[in-house]
Symmetry: D3
Subunit: 276 residues, 6 copies
């Protein structure tokens, strides 16, 4: 299952005390650095993020009453996406598809180049400097927080002061909420009560976004996790983790110890990596 | 304002009794047959329709829990659009943009060709035979009713029996609700209480959809109606209607008479067109 | 040849005194209202306009030192195009192709829709209100004047005051210069000395832009005019003009009279249309 | 030359007895795992596969009489592609280009993502589970077998029973035939007699597909093999193989021994890799 | 049914003698000049034309051995299309989709502009001068004859001498064969024996191309002709033809007289149009 | 700063004598072989190269008078790009965007494939054999030299004899001039006097192309170099170079020794790499 321990010191302590084997889907990592169990959920969350932004921009839902696509002769809605990783890339794809005016900010030139190659002038890519983030946020109809680092807390790129300068009725969808969020004003919400307002800006911070499209999410996850599940079942935990380095990287706590360096560093606790 | 008298015999009678000049935005018609005041609202409604479908397909909103885009390796959501006029065309644009598997049905080859030219294999166009409509509806995650005829009632293309055969949790967005709807199960709803369920299929039938994006809609409408408003104000009703054929076609009732042939025909009442 | 009499009272008087048959390429008009001799030159001028804008935005040419495409992570150049007719459409095509952030303004919804359909969120279309024009001009790196009306003077959409508010080093390319220009600051220039500066804004206002790409322009024009030339040669002027309505509409002056209504109206002179 | 020994035990034995140096184009492998001599031939075969499918779907060629593109208002042909490697990717490109409704199945999420990014809703990517393969095959007008593993036999993804459930007049193009094919019903054919029918389903299983477009194939191959040929000629076999790891990986048999692990494993024979 | 009388004096005489009512699908013409029964068949023929060209370019089928798409690093096949009407437009769409280097020639600027807008630099449009046709034909791998005029014989744009200068193994697909063909070397062939060679150039001139994809063609035609058939059945010939102008234009011969002006002109016979 | 020592033996000697720490932006190299400081400048130069080619193809600037886009019915300009690295890729993107007929030559199949995937038949990719280069150059309106190897001199792919065979008024933009150029006729020019003619072919060989768009270039460079600058400032040269391998690879001369292998090899001088 997904653990997100870096943002949950309490859960981490509990797992350590219980002495369980804690395999976190989000830190299972392939040889090439990719995250096979996190990627599909990130794709879903990124695609869903724009859908939520569009929804809450509607006047009856509390938003500014802006249609992202605009129509011929009328200004398109402005969508600002912080982060061009899997979440941000998929959010950009949807926002462009819905006809919004899209800006994506990141510090990784290579990721921005990929967006530039694929979407050309339908997207504006910008270096994620503080100035650029602030200028974009002030003009945004929707802001998507998509800065996720595997197993670490998200940086607070959007301050409380900046939220105050955003347009009334604008919408923030903070996909990074599972790792603490990338806005200072972010706090986790649920599908039952998904949004709250800070300084007139709607915040959608549902911790388990893919749950909203359970049919799609289940199909997506089963494909990725089935092989690991079969291996765990047939070999037992220790042998499976020893023989399969991809799985082993997913073990966050084991026998009372944190075994994932990123989690340990975020929480300031010692780390005892599992041996092969 | 928008009157939609063909679907409102009561309102028509009231207007006739009151003896008012009733200019219906939806029947103002340019020389080339286009409808300058209806088009922007139809564009907004068509674009919004897919957004509503996506929203109500979410599990917490009552739907099937399907993400229209799917993700790599997982089936895309299926969107079926009845009608390839302005509403249907714009709905198709958004559904394709969101990554759905889109089918558009119409009887006008020229309209289907335009979609085929613009979107290629990202859209399936089909002749709107009863068989094709039924087969598509049964597989649909979302069905968009987009069959609007200026000043006339919409044909009932989706029967109650067909709704029963649709998938549980599927969503119908009937944009034609202003003209009676193109599903037998359609009845008008409001932004406060937008959906209801029939045989497990969610129906979104808000009569004034563009109101949800009031900021965009106001900008759009002002651009089109301002010139007519100025002309009415400066010349008075009769002279403006006499001199401007585009405006004249928009007059539906005048001095107790129906002046729009389509409205008259739909309601089975006599028609007395306004003279130039 | 091209006459542009509406903007040249002196030339008009001279032609009237001389009693010549004056066929203006720019007013030859087909049954469907299209302008077969003007269209190719307008296409060339529109495509060239963006190339000139890019050129004069270079620092060594006197401009702001902005690359229209930007690069990943750096803001694209902003191109604002006034008019979505043939010139504006072709300018937009090139500006989008070069990767600029493009805004096109017009009052014709149908033309804006065509751009929206073809280029989606790679273009922002806006209604050409005074407010929109001013807001766009102030942010523009390049502004293309593309408001041409067959046989009439161009409206002055960009005031001297607005030019003053533009960014230093921005570039105006006024393609409408042949008909007087659509900026108050426009005055005709030549290929030998193509630009001048007003309030720090470079103006490119070459009256015969297609001459810069003579090889392409000659090929383009020959294809359209050859049929008319052959008809004039074989039938003589009067008979050709009588029998061919398309050609007849191109006659601007004949036997000392203005024969083109638009020219006559612009100059406040009487008009004597040629009979069939 | 191409050897495909894994599917040819007889040829392997002969080569071992003859004691020749057997360099198989298909196993020459660069540092990054790419196959420089196989890739161009796979690209050609993948592109050609759809062309053959379209051809044999014609009624006079024995097929269902379906045009892959359909036309506006008529269902597109359905093309199902098993495998999203080089062959499958290129087949998808052509099938989408011809306007078919295309589904690509693979187990590698990364490959499916590339197709999703490049072609959006013009392609449906699916996880290659047995259920998905069967459901797709039953609806297919054309099925392309594109599952090739370097130097190994292809898995039999399409059973004889599944072929029986396909539509009459459907076409299978099994590009994997060189490695045994990915259908149980596959057997190699030639350009002289390229197709046969099993249960009403046409099978095109030509072992050397690129030979059909010899001019293109020759140009393609020469570019890739010329450098190796020059190196072999100037250095002799042993030294060239020792110094050039890319070439060395291409050696399948040498001095009576199998030197390629994949071939040895497929045939259950011992392997003696060539030393650097 | 389709008559193509302009190219069939014998059939015309026979129909006149028999005194039948001859409704030609190809001349049924809507108010806007479009040809509702011809268009779908022209779309199919145009799309199929490129498929046939690709097929006969294969070495085993007698052609040059060229893959239209080429592959990265290898020259694309060159496809030249004469005519940018419905047939040519659809042929261009397929040829571009298959990755060929495509040139389309026509004299109608508006048609070439549509291709230029939709496909940009993936297509080269050229004015159909004799010089351009000759230069293109000499370099072509495939040449598609797509010059069809409703009810008239096709112009012979490709002379016997020009065919001689084409590349050996090149392929001509003359879709205009139903109206006599646009190459001097064209003569009708059948699906049983579709090609012949003249000076080393393969000619595919099947008179009823859509028959090859009977399933698609039947669906396409039924949608268009069903309404007319129902009207003929319920009203009888004379009344139906009188009341429905679209149908009336389709009547080519009636009671021993030619009733279609274009047919009469092509055959040099008198014409007696049917009265409303 | 950028040093390009391989092409500047004099500067190299001077730097060695002075004993400075010479960090060359162009050889700072990340773990994956990418060049973070060179890439943005190469992107700008590649994009700018096509803009310069378009400019100097204008008749008043001395060129052939060709519009790269052509217009419907008129031949597009032909752009030939030598090299499909960062410079060539970005030049191709702009040339395609401007509507030219583009050919890109390289020996790396993978790079050509990327262009083929992204742009399809809008680009022709060719293997960079001598024959292909010569044939393309002879037909080119514009030729872009984009063959850059980090820290080495560019190969002379275009001989003086080949330049003589190019079309009069054609334009060469040699972006490789910083490393000696890839044409025999190349010699460095400046923004003040950017072009010269050899055998009627215009040569644009400005050594610091991005300087023309200083605003864009400064933004681009700052983002990449700021982190290195901060590290150098806080740690001092030696420690920074020791701890940061990316930076260390950028050191070309240090304490009188050449420390970059490629530079040393090009100049035939000994190399003393900096230790970690």
């Amino acid at each position: 299952t997904y653990l997100h321990l870096a943002a949950n010191p309490g859960l981490t302590q509990a797992l350590m005390r219980a002495g369980v084997h804690g395999v976190a889907y989000e830190t299972i990592q392939a040889e090439d650095g990719s995250l096979p169990c996190l990627v599909p959920m990130s794709e879903i969350a990124g695609r869903l993020a724009v859908q939520e932004a569009a929804k809450y921009l509607e006047r009856p839902m509390g938003g500014r009453g802006v249609l992202l696509a605009g129509i011929p002769g009328v200004q398109r809605g402005r969508v600002v996406i912080l982060g061009a990783g899997v979440v941000g890339f998929n959010a950009a794809k949807m926002a462009i598809g819905l006809g919004a005016q899209v800006t994506v900010l990141d510090i990784a030139h290579r990721r921005l180049k990929e967006l530039d190659d694929l979407y050309g002038p339908a997207v504006q890519t910008l270096y994620a400097s503080g100035d650029n983030i602030a200028a974009c946020a002030r003009q945004a109809d929707a802001l998507i927080g998509a800065v996720l680092l595997p197993g670490a807390t998200a940086p607070k790129l959007v301050t409380r002061a900046l939220v105050k300068q955003m347009q009334p009725g604008a919408v923030i969808v903070d996909v990074a909420v599972d790792q603490g969020g990338c806005c200072e004003t972010t706090k986790p919400t649920t599908h039952d009560d998904p949004v709250y307002s800070v300084d007139g800006v709607l915040h959608y911070c549902v911790a388990n976004m893919p749950g909203a499209v359970a049919r799609t999410a289940t199909l997506a996850l089963t494909q990725q996790t089935l092989p690991f599940g079969l291996e765990l079942a047939s070999k037992g935990f220790l042998q499976a983790a020893r023989e399969n380095a991809v799985l082993r990287r997913g073990v966050n706590v084991d026998a009372g110890c944190i075994t994932c360096p990123a989690v340990a560093q975020s929480l300031g606790l010692p780390c005892a990596p599992l041996a092969a």
